[in-house]
Amino acid sequence: MAIVTFDEATRTYPNSDQPAVDRLSLEVRDGEFLVLVGPSGCGKTTTLRMLAGLENVDEGEILIDGKSVVNLAPRDRDIAMVFQNYALYPHMSVAQNMGFALRMAKVPKSEIEERVRAAAKILDIEDYLERKPRQLSGGQRQRVAMGRAIVRQPRVFLMDEPLSNLDAKLRVATRAEIAALQRNLGVTTVYVTHDQVEAMTMGDRVAVMKDGVLQQCDTPQTLYDEPANVFVAGFIGSPSMNLLEGTVADGGVRLGSTTVLAAADLRVPAGTAVTVGVRPESLAITSGGGGIPATVSMVEELGSEAFVHARLADGVEPAVKGEDTIVARFEPRTAPAAGELIHLGVKNGAMQLFDASSGARIVAGS
């Protein structure tokens, strides 16, 4: 049980002038499951490795329970880590793998055996204890890697994309298991992933990073409903939020030749250039004129829902040049056919506005 604090922690790799992690300040609460998410190269793994002691901290501090760990060797930090490729010791049996840390800590043999057995029971790998890693399937190896971490009863768990080597079905099942296990054990956990679905489903809070800079750290629902900026808005949610170029007009936003009415007072002077974000589920075909005009190019019928990809028409411009497709969610079997020209309205004015130049969210008044 521990509180982890990043205080302006910075890491710049040699031969690089751009920091991989740039003045990161973040607090992981006691017992919390915090997910670090972002595209590859955003600094999330570096952040984790800095906490593990595998990467130097060039500036700033990292504290566990208020004590700086910056100058401690990995072995003195009382943390356990699950690696993306598991990093199981190939020459040791499953039981030896799981007991290695305890052996290093000179825990008596009988106690090691007991704790390994207990952890194996939790993870349902008791039958494989005498096997070597190469005799295990991917899913079993993943469990052993988890087991190696929980046997230690560390202060903090670190997990670096532990599910990325599993197939899709196993990943979903293991995702739920890890989240449940963490809640049972109550150990503070920092979990790195590039998969926003994993982040949203597992984390108590999710920290979104980009180019070494923390963009936003909040609960999954808040990230979804109130993204701090255009990047978070586009990164969280699948399919992504639609981002369009617009101008604030009286009581709404002008997109091309149409105006979409806002639900609340925008508190932004008319004529201000903004980026408008609309989730696919907030779009619907308008019956009585108006709406964003678009030509359906593709329909994804998923059974429980359908996603319509449509090409923007009539002077409506996307915020990102070239990405001129708008995505709308439909109930199954109600989607328009490809080639049709549709007009999409925003339900209840549920849109997000972002500053066109800085990308920061503009908070509307109620």
């Binding site: 593990a52 002691g53 595998l54 060797a73 990995p74 072995r75 930090r77 943390i79 356990a80 880590m81 690696f83 993306q84 490729n85 598991y86 990093a87 199981l88 010791y89 190939p90 020459h91 290695f100 840390a101 290093m104 800590a105 070597k132 890693p133 190469r134 005799q135 295990l136 991917g138 190896r141 190696r148 230690r152 080597n165």
Partner: protein, 295 residues
């Protein structure tokens, strides 16, 4: 047309291969057959003729007991020098290669470059300065004069460096560090058990280099009782009648050797290397790392 041309090409290729196979195998076959014949038979009979087993036993007995079991003493000396040198080479090369591959320290790149450069340098070039050094240290004439120089084995360091940088995932060592192992225990508990194939390979090369070394023991030893087998072989050539007709005229009472005896001595000299090779080969199993990580 195309088919027959391909046949012709195949035929030529096979002919070339057969020629070279014969070219290299004939001397070896001759060598292994020679001790079964007497010196006279060696000249009169076909090169591939098999003499007799009793002649072979006789030849073996003659060479082994020659000059108060000299051959056995030389073999024993060779074994001491080679096993000692090999142990030292492994002890030095494996940790050095590991450090160059998987740790960071100031001067690492420079050391790596130096390793490569000295690897190219012929070992013979160092024999004279080594002799002077050993002499100054008062080790001349001791077994250390032939063992200590093998602690310097840049080729082994380089092989180990390549092995560790190519096969051991860095995460494996990171995992051990997080699990509470210090640098020494990371090496001892994780890296070394996974390095068995390279320990065997470096050991084998070091053993062969030491066993077959001629010039270093030639300089460092002064008495027949210290000779390794390679120097001994040279002495045997000096005692072979056919190579030194002036010294051994017919009817002389000195025990002389003949060519089949010399061939037998050569076979005895290479046998340990063959044995070590068979032994090391078993340890050269790959796939030790399967299952460590999933790439």
């Amino acid at each position: 047309m195309a088919l027959s041309r391909r046949h012709a090409m195949n035929f030529i290729a096979i002919m070339i291969l057969l020629f070279f196979t014969a070219f290299f195998f004939v001397p070896i076959i001759w060598l292994f057959l020679a001790p079964t014949k007497t010196d006279g038979q060696l000249l009169t009979e076909s090169p591939f003729a098999f003499g007799s087993l009793s002649t072979l036993a006789h030849t073996f007995h003659r060479i082994v007991t020659y000059s108060d079991d000299s051959v056995l003493i030389w073999l024993k000396n060779s074994a001491i020098y080679s096993f000692g040198g090999t142990a030292l080479a492994i002890l030095a090369a494996i940790p050095a290669g590991y450090a160059l591959a998987l740790t960071h320290f100031i001067g690492r790149r420079l050391l790596l470059a130096i390793t490569l450069v000295v690897m190219i340098m012929p070992a013979t070039a160092l024999v004279l300065p080594l002799f002077l050094e050993i002499n100054k240290l008062g080790l001349y004439g001791t077994i250390w004069a032939l063992i200590l120089p093998f602690g310097f084995f840049p080729f082994g360091v380089y092989l180990t460096y390549i092995y560790f940088s190519a096969t051991i995932p860095k995460d494996l060592l990171a995992a051990a560090r997080i699990d509470g192992a210090g640098e020494w225990r990371v090496f001892w508990h994780i890296a070394l058990p996974l390095a068995r194939p390279i320990v065997a390979l470096v050991g084998f090369f070091a053993f062969v280099a030491s066993w077959n070394n001629f010039f270093l023991p030639f300089v460092m030893t002064y008495d027949s009782s210290q000779y390794p087998i390679q120097i001994g072989l040279q002495q045997l050539i000096g005692s072979t009648a056919s190579f030194n007709p002036a010294n051994y005229s017919a009817g002389s009472s000195i025990v002389v050797l003949h060519r089949p005896d010399l061939a037998m001595a050569v076979i005895i000299a290479i046998a340990p290397v063959l044995l070590v090779f068979l032994f090391a080969q078993r340890s050269l199993v790959t796939g030790m790392l399967a299952g460590a990580t999933k790439e």
